[in-house]
Amino acid sequence: MTALLTLENISVRGRRLPRLDGVNLQLRPGERVALLGPSGAGKSTLLAVANGLLEPDQGQVLWHGEPRAFGARARRRQQRRIGMLWQDLRLIEELTVQQNLNAGRLGAWGWPRALLNLLVPLETQACRELLLRLDLEPGLLVEPVATLSGGQRQRVALARLLRQEPELLLADEPLASLDPRLADGLLALLLREGAAPRALLLSLHRPDLLAGFDRVIGLRGGQLAFDMPRSALTPATLADLYVDATGAAGAS
């Protein structure tokens, strides 16, 4: 099976040290991968390269085995298949839940539908199903996003992402600012939605939440520290990842 996403020898220069330094990575459909590493290890940079937001200084990004397209249009067609869940969610506060969900379709829609979405409810059935799937009241569709609770907003953001019908889900520390109950709920949903035929790549700062993942990647100083099945991960490997970064052997 060809990989969904292949990163070949990716380097991104930073101000002093490289932010990514010769990273190689393959993601296959059905893989749910956790990306671990201390702050500044390059996790966000790696995700930005993966979703096409950032152009690497060196190396090649392959999508379904093909190099990234150069033309703006073809490039956007590829990006449509890669969905990103942002830590700050990036919902459009002034619009309703339904309009926000449909904003996930903007890449596929032309102007007429994009404008109509701002006037009347579009594709209500699909939006309802998504909300139900994520354990949200379908009645929320008409509510402005600004009125939702924190947990509801998380799920609406995830629903918008799924509305995009992506093959690959990326998420940059999605659980960082959540209380434990919300974090567990969101992680369970992400793992469910990221299952085959999709793939999931998620950066994480809590090694205690790795249970549902198939594979774990450690990133340190812009380089791959390890890339292994979760079952092979030992506490010692994990400890090494964080200890080295501080440069102090005594870090607990």
Binding site: Q79, E94, L106, G107
Partner: protein, 517 residues
């Protein structure tokens, strides 16, 4: 079915459709050659030293008039603002009604455009340097007074009450508690008024009150496009640094932008900021004093009225017999068309050029020219190809105000959080849709609220393009002014003032609604 915020922003642009349909009928066929020459001359301004010298002198007069008019309006505005603030009367005498009465009286001079003041004073006093200054200072002063009054009355009263109850004399208590918070608001608004004053002074020049405007008009009328462009570029060379400087100072003192959006930046220490502001204000007032001396302004000139022609017999009947309904309808139609054009075209154009960097720069340049350019000159230019009437007037007013609104829109967009737009474009939506959904959603409310305020200004400005004819009260007023028909002028001014006051009220209401939503 209620259009969502970003769509609401595009709706006014629907006025473009009927305008485009009307355009072929409004063309009179000739004149394209002249327009071509005009456009070509933009890159070849005249560099003749004699021309430049005269233009520079005109520019100096315009700047001096603007500065002096602005300074007088600031002083006048603070005094009148204090005199019409409820909090001042309350603490000095325990009564509020004199404040409200004065505020209501001040609405009248405020509702009359500086150009009408200029033309009126010109008829009464003759061509004196003081006339141009006074016609800026009177309406601006009363505008500043309103802002000062609103600022003062919105300030929290707790510390004032504390000082008063401790036995501090009322004037001292007022100065201590209300002075420092008033200064930033006043300066922020004042800076913006200085830009306006420069535009007004240029405009007054076009109508013969001296300065660069006059040179521009004469060059246009004699088809000396190269000289015209020299003047325009010179004006731009003053306006642009002024705008940049004011924006910079605003940021330096972390004042809210006019369309303040997003989180407020941190405040610097009040003491240092306050001292810097006072120094700047003081030096500007000194500079204005120097400019007034150079212009040889003598305030007593304003007291020497020329003998007026006697009131004509039967003038009132004639005045009442004017076609009032059609005059008012024309004025309103012109206002609405120009306002819709100005409010709607900005977002539309920004969307069109969104993916294209040089296009965005070109748009900035176009908006800059729109701000700078007095609308009557645009109207005259349009008359080369269009028949006189509502269309050239609306286009001219719309273009000018588009320049002002467009700049605000751009500022608001760059101040708004880029994250939602980035999220959309990384999910594969095109740059235009990402801009529409991601950023316009955020700025729509305040942009439209400012547009409502601007429509009210446009109503007042309709008089400026009266020379094109068929534009309602403005055209009639110019006719009546040149015929010394004082009864007509009186009634027209009343009609204008009433319309403006109603418009002000309507735009206030819609603004509150837009910002509340």
């Amino acid at each position: 079915m209620k259009p969502a915020a970003p769509l609401l922003m595009l709706l006014p642009a629907a006025v473009l459709l009927p305008l485009l349909l009307l355009l072929p009928q409004a063309l009179h066929g000739g004149g394209w050659e002249l327009v071509g020459q005009f456009a070509a001359a933009a890159l070849q301004p005249s560099l003749d030293p004699v021309v430049l010298q005269s233009l520079l002198r005109g520019l100096a007069i315009t700047c001096a008039v603007a500065l002096v008019g602005w300074a007088v309006s600031l002083v006048l505005g603070v005094l009148l603002g204090l005199a019409s603030a409820r909090v001042v009367w309350q603490s000095l005498s325990g009564r509020c009604w004199p404040a409200d009465l004065l505020a209501r009286l001040l609405a009248l001079p405020r509702s009359i455009h500086e150009l009408i003041w200029g033309l009126l004073l010109l008829q009464l006093i003759g061509l004196q340097p003081a006339v141009a200054v006074a016609s800026i200072a009177i309406p601006y002063g009363t505008l500043v007074a309103r802002v000062v009054r609103d600022l003062l009355d919105a300030l929290p009263r707790a510390s004032l009450a504390a000082l008063l109850s401790a036995g501090t004399p009322a004037p001292t208590a007022l100065l201590t508690t209300l002075g420092p918070p008033l200064l930033p608001g006043l300066l922020s608004y004042g800076g913006y008024r200085l830009e306006c004053a420069l535009r007004s002074a240029t405009l007054l020049g076009v109508f013969g009150l001296g300065g660069l405007g006059n040179d521009l008009l004469l060059s246009l009328q004699s088809l000396q496009f190269h000289e015209l462009w020299s003047g325009l570029w010179l004006l731009l060379a003053v306006m642009l640094p002024l705008e940049a400087l004011i924006a910079r100072l605003r940021r330096h003192w972390s004042m809210p932008a006019r369309l303040s959006l997003g989180p407020q930046t941190q405040h610097r220490s009040v003491g240092r900021r306050g001292r810097q502001m006072l120094v700047l204000l003081g030096s500007l007032l000194l500079l204005a004093w120097g400019a007034a001396r150079w212009l040889q302004i003598d305030p007593t000139q304003l007291l020497h009225w020329q003998p007026l022609p006697p009131l004509g017999q039967g003038g009132w009947q004639e005045a009442l017999a004017l076609p009032w309904p059609s005059l008012i309808v024309e004025t309103l139609l012109l206002t609405l068309t120009a306002a819709a054009l100005a409010v709607g075209a900005g977002p539309l154009l920004l969307l069109l050029v969104a993916p294209w960097r040089p296009g965005r720069a070109l748009l900035q340049l176009g908006w800059m020219l729109g701000r700078l350019w007095p609308p009557p000159l645009t109207a005259l230019l349009l008359l080369f190809v269009l028949k006189p009437g509502l269309l050239p007037a609306a286009l001219a007013l719309g273009f000018h105000n588009l320049g002002i609104l467009g700049r605000l829109l751009r500022e608001a967009c760059s101040a708004a959080d880029p994250a939602p737009e980035q999220a959309l474009s990384s999910s594969g939506s095109g740059p235009r849709l990402a801009l529409l959904y991601g950023r316009f959603s955020r700025v729509a409310g305040s942009y439209l609220a400012y547009g409502a305020y601007r429509s009210d200004v446009i109503l007042r400005e309709t008089v400026v393009v009266g020379l094109v004819g068929g534009t309602g009260l403005g055209s009639q007023l110019r006719e009546s002014l040149s015929g010394f028909a004082w009864q007509q002028i009186g009634l027209l001014l009343v009609a204008y003032a009433l319309l403006t006051l109603v418009g002000e009220d309507l735009s206030d209401r819609s603004r509150r609604q837009l910002l509340g939503a």
